[in-house]
């Protein structure tokens, strides 16, 4: 395995991790499996696409001479995608959480509502923008650089660094801030939290916006490699969900470990000559099924206490 492959694996792990941690966090704190995560991904992808169309000439005019136009555009696109993801998080909150969160069978009902929301959003995007795939400009750097005698793609390194920074700050915020304390209190015992004056409704909103923003970032980062399209969110949603399951639904360290494992499996399967890219999904799901057969609670149980 050369360094390029390891970086590729970590790059995949970063994007899958963003999706899986979003799904896992939402399950453990709010108690819903968010099937609309793929829609958030697609919406943020389109937001980034339009931000790029609008921002590219602007950046060239303002900063073209300094050479900072591409990094500035990258930051701008990233922020727009984060914002779009967070806004769609609010939509999910209003449609799939607020009306039913204290009714019976919230977990199943919210699953159905978010699934419907996902389908409706994909259809709406198809209707509005058509099925054509759209390409984002390559704003996270192109080309390769050589380190330790091996060539590494710059955009992959940027993705890994950006994801690590963002996830690190999110986890630090969860550990340190008062809101983070409230969110963890709700995660562990919703009724106890209510008796501490912590309202589930008020903690669910920031966590929905946060997970939406994570999906938005994942959309921008992955769109450097694949195209923006109405159905672009399906594969990331499925992979995010299965990785969250592999990690033990609700466990953040488990989701990170699962994402790294799946990223390496994908990179390795693609590199093995007789398997190749075609067998990636097959190998991944076989692996996940095997792990879940041995450990039905997922990897998370090894790492920390999960919900229930």
């Amino acid at each position: 395995m050369d360094a390029g492959l390891i970086v590729y694996a970590l790059y995949l792990a970063a994007i899958y991790g963003l999706m899986a941690i979003g799904i896992s966090l939402l399950w453990s704190s709010v108690g819903m499996v968010n099937m609309a995560h793929g829609a958030t991904f697609a919406i943020a992808g389109y937001a980034a696409y339009f931000a790029a169309i609008w921002g590219q000439p602007l950046a060239r005019d303002l900063l073209g001479t300094t050479g900072w136009d591409i990094p500035a555009l990258a930051v701008f696109i990233g922020l727009v995608a984060l914002l779009a993801g967070a806004l769609f998080g609010i939509v999910i909150y209003l449609v799939a959480f607020l009306p039913i969160h204290d009714k019976e069978n919230f977990a199943v009902r919210s699953l159905i509502i978010t699934l419907a929301l996902n389908l409706a959003t994909v259809q709406m995007l198809l209707w509005a923008f058509g099925p054509q795939q759209k390409a984002l400009p390559r704003v996270f750097g192109t080309g390769r650089f050589t380190a330790l005698g091996m060539s590494i793609r710059i955009d992959q390194v940027v993705t890994i660094v950006a994801t690590t920074l963002l996830l690190g700050s999110v986890l630090a915020w969860l550990r340190r801030s008062r809101k983070g304390l409230e969110i963890r209190a709700v995660m562990q015992n919703a009724e106890g939290a209510a008796l501490c004056g912590i309202s589930t409704r008020k903690t669910a909103l920031p966590i929905m916006m946060l997970t939406g923003a994570l999906a938005g970032l994942a959309a921008v980062l992955l769109s450097q490699n694949v195209f923006v399209s109405p159905t672009a969110g399906v594969t990331p949603l499925i992979k995010g969900l299965t990785i969250a399951l592999l990690g033990g639904l609700g466990s953040v360290p488990g989701a990170v470990a699962g994402a790294v494992l799946i990223g390496f499996i994908e990179a390795a399967t693609g590199a093995i000559p007789f398997l190749g890219q075609r067998y990636v999904l097959f190998v991944q799901f076989t692996f996940i099924v095997c792990v879940l057969l041995i450990r039905p609670r997922g990897l998370g149980g090894l790492l920390d206490e999960t919900r229930e």
């Binding site: 204290d102 009714k103 304390l181 963890r184 919703a190 209510a194 008796l195 501490c196 004056g197 920390d304």
Partner: protein, 233 residues
């Protein structure tokens, strides 16, 4: 009515088809410490949970400090609970609804829900450590790893963190060794009630005898007899 901190009239509550409380009337005056005694399964916990809007359905009036917090509802369990807590009702749930993955310190911070109490939470924590000295050494320990008595102390301490005016303490002795439950109860009795009130639900009458202002019996969802000051000794 004005000196009544809490007055309940015609409160019925239950879960689904099960009716646990039958038209309960009672009131608590400011500065009063009273006990509700009765056997398991006769509605003491349900009474507290109905005040906090945590039962399946309820009807009847609950007036806390001039504000109606009762009413009729059959859904929305827990929806109004944080609001009621913020009005100044602190409840320690039965069996310590507690956050196993938080440290004692974080757990106590969770109780400081008002802006003012969050600002001087360190001071308030010190006050709790003064009441329960053994918690000081366990400050960084995870609550899930503590013994039952220590957990009860954390639970009671959490309720004392903010400026509540009504404390609802559910079964302080449940599942504890006699010596430890005595200590928890003594700490509860020592808490000054300056214009506040405390209601303790308890099975073990002997534990509270001679220590509370008033005792009310509870049987099969009805309050039976307001026996006043009881001293079994």
């Amino acid at each position: 009515m004005s000196d009544k901190l809490l007055s309940i009239t015609g409160l019925s509550a239950g879960y689904g088809p099960l009716r646990v409380l039958h038209e309960i009337d009672f009131s608590v005056a400011a500065g009063e410490r009273l006990a509700i005694v009765g056997l398991n399964g006769h509605g003491k916990t349900t009474l507290f949970r109905a005040i906090m809007h945590l039962v399946g359905w309820q009807r009847g009036s609950v007036v806390f400090d001039g504000i109606e917090i009762g009413g009729t509802r059959s859904l929305g369990e827990g929806r109004r609970t944080p609001g009621i807590v913020r009005l100044g009702v602190a409840m320690t749930p039965q069996g310590d609804a507690i956050f196993p993955g938080l440290t004692v310190k974080q757990h106590l911070d969770c109780g400081a829900y008002t802006k003012a109490s969050w600002r001087d939470r360190a001071l308030r924590r010190d006050h709790i450590y003064h009441i329960f000295p053994q918690l000081k050494a366990l400050e960084q320990a995870y609550v899930g790893k503590l013994s039952g008595g220590e957990r009860r102390m954390v639970s009671v301490g959490r309720a004392l963190m903010a400026d509540a005016r009504l404390y609802l303490i559910d079964e302080p002795s449940l599942g504890l060794a006699p010596k430890i439950s005595q200590r928890v109860v003594d700490a509860l009795i020592d808490i000054g009630l300056d214009g506040k009130a405390m209601v303790i639900a308890e099975q073990n009458v002997a534990l509270l005898s001679g220590k509370v202002d008033r005792m009310i019996g509870m049987h099969a969802g009805h309050l039976r007899g307001d026996v006043g000051h009881v001293d079994l000794a």
